[in-house]
Amino acid sequence: MKKVGILNLGINNIKSITNACKSISETVVINSYNEFNRDIDVLILPGNGHFSLGMKLIKDLKFDVIIKEFCEKKKKIVGICLGLQLLMFRSDEANNIKGLALIDGEVKQIDRKKIKVPLLGWYTVNFKSKDLKDKEFFFNNSYMVCPVNKDLIKGNIGNYVPAYIVQENIHGFQFHPEKSSHNGLELLKNIINN
C-alpha cells in the first residue's frame, strides 16, 4: 500500500483532503520539516487562500526543501488548487513573489469575459487522455495555471481553464478532487496507486 503525506500549511481545510486520502490509502499529515519521514510515496500539497501567504508558509515550514527533494527523486507530487498554482514561476495574485518554479509558466487571473468568476461549483472537465472520461469536478478559484508547454494540460474546462496538469512525476488539479464526490476520489485513487 502506498503511503501518502499531506503538507499542512495551516491555512487549508486539511481535514477534507486527509479524510479523502485515508479512504484510499495510508495517510499522514506533515506539520513541519522535522516531521517529514522519507517513507512517503506520494506527497500532496493542498491549498486554499492567497499565493503570497502560501509561499511564505512553505518557506517558513521548510516545505520547499521537502518538495524539491521529492522532485529530484522523481517521486509523485500532487498539487491541489493553490497547491498546484504554487508549483509555477509566478502569479497575477502576488506580483513580486516567486513560486516554487517546478513547472514553467505562470498563474493568471481568469478573464471575466470568458467565464463567470469566481469559479464556484461543478464544471465538466474535458480530458485529453482516452483513459479518462469527461466528468464533473468541484472548482473554487479565481486564478488559473498557464504552463508554457501546453502539452502538459491533460484536462480543461471549455478549452479555456486548465484543470489537470501532468509533468512527469507532478500531477496538478485546479479543482478539488477531495470535494468532488466519487469522481474525485476515483481520480485520486488512480494517481496514488499507479
Binding site: N48, I115, L120, W122, Y123, E136, H176, S181
Partner: protein, 255 residues
Amino acid sequence: MKIEKIRIIPKLEIKNEFLIKGVRFEGLRKIGNPVDFANKYFKDGADQINIIDIVASLYNRDNLYEIVNKITEQVFIPVCVGGGIKSIEHIKALLECGADRVIVNSEALRNIKFIDQIVQTFGSQFLTVSIEAKKIGNDYYCMMDHGRENSNKTLSDWIKQLNKYNVGEIIINSIDNDGIENGFDFELLNIVSNEEFNCPKVINGGAGNFNHFINVLEKYDIDGFSIATALHFNKFSIKELKEFLISKKVNINPL
C-alpha cells in the same frame, strides 16, 4: 447551454443536536439526526451541503463542531457552515472540523468590516453571505438572528453594499416562503434580478415540486437552489430532481 452548472444544495437547520425545520422560521419541528441526513443527501447526489445552527449564537457551539466533524468524515462534497459566527476564532474552529466555507448573516449586517476580516484571513472563496429577507410593508428587509431582529436594511440596499466587498457567494432566503413548498418568491427574485452581482447567487425558500425550479430558471439567472422542507419530508429526492432537470436540458452535475 451555459458552462456553469446549477447546484442543488440541501439546507440543514440545526438546533442542539437535531435537524429541525420550521415554517417561515417559526414552529420548529424535530426531524432527526443531521449526520444521517447529510450522508443520505451526499449519496443521493447533492452538490454541496449547507448547515445552519440556528441557536449557536445563544448557547454553546460544541454541538455544531461535533456535527460538522462527523459529517465531513463521510461527505466528500463541499460542506458550508453558518450560525452565530462572530469571530475569526469561530471560523478557525469550523475549519478544523472540516468546513469548506462559512455562512455569515447577522454579524455582517451589524459590522460589515467583519466581511473584510474574513476575506483577508481566508480568501473570498471561503465566505458565503446569507440574506434572510422578509417582506414588511412594500419592501423586503434583511433580518438577523434567524428572523428575530430587523436590521432595517432593505434587500436591494444590502446587495448593493455587499457588491463593494469581495464576497464569494450570496444565498438569498425568502422567510415568507420558507417551509411553504408553494414555489420560490418571485417578488423577491424580481428585486434580486435588478441588482448586479459579482459572485454566484443561490436562492432558498419555497421549493415544493419540480416545476418550481423550471419556473425560476426560465426567467432568472441563478447559480443554485437551496432546499430543506421538500427533501427532509421526502416530497422528492435529489436524484429524482436531477433526473427531471436533465430531461429539461438544465446544465447540472449528473452525479
